[in-house]
């Protein structure tokens, strides 16, 4: 049933991309995403696609895995594409009654879809090669300067990490409570919206009680292990940049330069 949902899909493999410092991957992905919105040109997309493919090959993550990330947003993609296709004014090349297709619309729909696709592919590649833990660590470190503005960065990172740990447990628990209530004849499928919501109470109440109990237990367990916030804390795996991380940053810059050059100097397509 509900336990089939997977969250934080990480693809375990031994590759340079996996070994990179997570900060590099977060920043690299951000640069990549931003770059996608800075041009409107086929050459640019060719460069973006080429670089993406190169990184994917190096990462050893199968393409099929990455493409799977597109499934949930497929309808959104088609919808935005159609919206742009039909409602962009310009040179008409096809007409059927009130429906008009323009060259400009076709171009815009294409660019927008490609952008969205690359955006999703790029971020899936990051989550596939970075464990949620590393990601949390990277964010904690990258956002550390915000501490001076009294943002509780360590606490936020700790909360994210605990949430990641407990989501699968609570999903399993939901499954179990659901079954237990079904064994008592509960019906979650029939009735109108309000009835259905009311029918959820036998699941939601125990789930809430259990979540509170777990939170209490966990707080005690953390206290018992001398947890007292972020001050005076050391790290078992502190993030330290290695040679390959600097190389990756250089490649990132090289990508930007290449993109800029291709968009500026090659004939416009």
């Amino acid at each position: 049933m509900i336990r089939n949902i997977t969250i934080g899909q990480y693809y375990a493999a031994d590759s340079v991309v996996h070994r990179l410092d997570p900060r590099v991957k977060v920043i690299g992905t951000l640069v990549y995403i931003v770059s996608l919105f800075l041009f409107n040109n086929f050459w640019g997309y060719a460069v973006a696609a080429g670089c993406f493919c190169a990184v994917t090959v190096v990462s050893k993550v199968p393409f099929s895995y990455i493409v799977r990330g597109l499934k949930p947003v497929f309808f959104m993609l088609v919808f935005t594409a159609l919206l742009n296709l039909f409602w962009t004014p310009g040179t008409v090349f096809f007409q059927l009654g009130p429906v008009e297709l323009t060259w400009e619309g076709l171009r815009k729909a294409f660019f927008l879809s490609v952008r969205l696709i690359f955006l999703i592919l790029g971020s899936s590649l990051m989550t596939l090669t970075t464990t949620p833990n590393q990601l949390t660590n990277a964010l904690e470190k990258l956002l550390a300067p915000l501490c001076h503005l009294h943002v509780p960065v360590h606490e936020i990172a700790m909360m994210m990490s605990i949430a990641l740990r407990f989501i699968p447990i609570l999903v399993e628990e939901t499954d179990r409570i659901m079954k237990a209530q079904m064994a008592r004849g509960a019906d979650f499928e029939s009735g109108n919206v309000i009835q259905r919501l009311r029918n959820m109470l036998p699941i939601l109440v125990p789930l809430f009680v259990s979540a509170v109990r777990r939170a209490n237990d966990l707080a005690l367990a953390m206290d018992a292990r001398c947890y007292h916030g972020g001050s005076g804390r050391t790290k078992m795996h502190p993030l330290r940049y290695q040679g390959r991380d600097f190389a990756a940053y250089l490649l990132c810059i090289a990508y930007c330069v290449l993109l800029y050059a291709s968009v500026t100097y090659l004939p416009v397509l």
Partner: protein, 290 residues
């Protein structure tokens, strides 16, 4: 007893809390612990028995500095737990393993969870790595170091929790019904680990349980009832006291019951036999003499 080091010493320890109704008004005072006097030697293996709600868990939380006495005093390795300056040192000295394996593992990867305590204590990185490796090997979980805790069995999770406590270099480990949710195989693995730590590393063990068979491992037993120590003695003495056990909603293990039944029928057995091999050997020798 001599002048050996007392790692735990309580004097008239009591804990009260107010019971409140829905609007938050106090409807009564519950005395969860009531005048506990206990002295435990460093390096010993002590079991605390008692029915559900007898105050065992409240006592455990005091030993770990998670609760503070409302009356009386409690010293852990000479430190008064009521003094808030001692709290972190108390928690580090007397580490605690809780009942529910799921609700005490904090990190998403086994080795990072074991490192959690030392990280909080500010241990330098290279030392954390060494300790984590040692403790995972000690508990037999080293090959799982990169696993997610979600894919481990209950017994394996509890051994990770034990490793997490060990990594803080405690002098004493408290197991608060830590085997209650495990199956027999998981329980045995956790107990074997604990016994080894007690014998080899001389870590004091406080085992809180209501599984009677586990008590036979202990040097000394405290039986709790309604917040008080109802009885204390060696496992043999405790199991001999059938009336007291029944009153405390407990029961001796089958093998002890058999030995007692035989004694009643006039078979001269030594007091406090409670392993299958032990009883069988005595019986075989008796048979030879006859």
């Amino acid at each position: 007893m001599g002048i050996k080091n007392k790692i735990i010493k309580s004097e008239n320890l009591a804990h009260e809390y107010a019971r409140r109704d829905e609007s938050g008004d106090v409807t009564g005072i519950v005395r969860a612990l009531d005048g506990i006097d206990v002295q435990i030697e460093a390096g010993s293996f002590v079991a605390v028995l008692g029915a559900n709600g007898s105050g065992k868990s409240t006592f455990a939380k005091h030993l770990n500095g998670l609760l503070f006495p409302t009356e009386g005093t409690l010293y852990i390795d000479g430190m008064d737990t009521a003094d808030s300056e001692n709290t972190l040192a108390v928690r580090q000295t007397a580490g605690m393993v809780f009942q529910n394996p799921d609700n005490q593992i904090i990190a998403n990867i086994v080795e990072e969870d074991v490192g959690f305590g030392p990280e909080n204590m500010g241990v330098p990185t290279d030392k954390i790595l060494k300790r984590v490796e040692e403790c995972l090997k000690e508990t037999g979980m080293y090959s799982y170091r990169r696993h997610s805790p979600n894919h481990l069995s209950g017994g394996q999770k509890q051994r990770v929790a034990v490793a997490g406590v060990l990594a803080m270099r405690p002098k004493c480990i408290i197991l608060d019904e830590a085997t209650a949710m495990l199956d027999p195989a998981g329980r045995k693995n956790v107990l074997d680990t604990i016994v080894r730590l007690n014998k080899k590393e001389h870590i004091t063990v406080i085992l809180i349980t209501h599984y009677m068979e586990e008590v036979t491992l202990a040097d000394y037993v405290y039986v709790m009832k309604q917040g008080k120590v109802a009885y204390s003695g060696t496992p043999g003495e405790v199991f001999q006291n059938v009336g007291m056990l029944r009153e405390c909603r407990l029961e001796a293990p089958q093998i002890t019951q058999i030995a007692q039944g035989l004694q009643k029928a006039g078979i001269p057995l030594t007091q406090g036999v409670f392993t299958i091999e032990g009883l069988a050997k005595e019986l075989l020798e008796l048979a030879k003499k006859r």
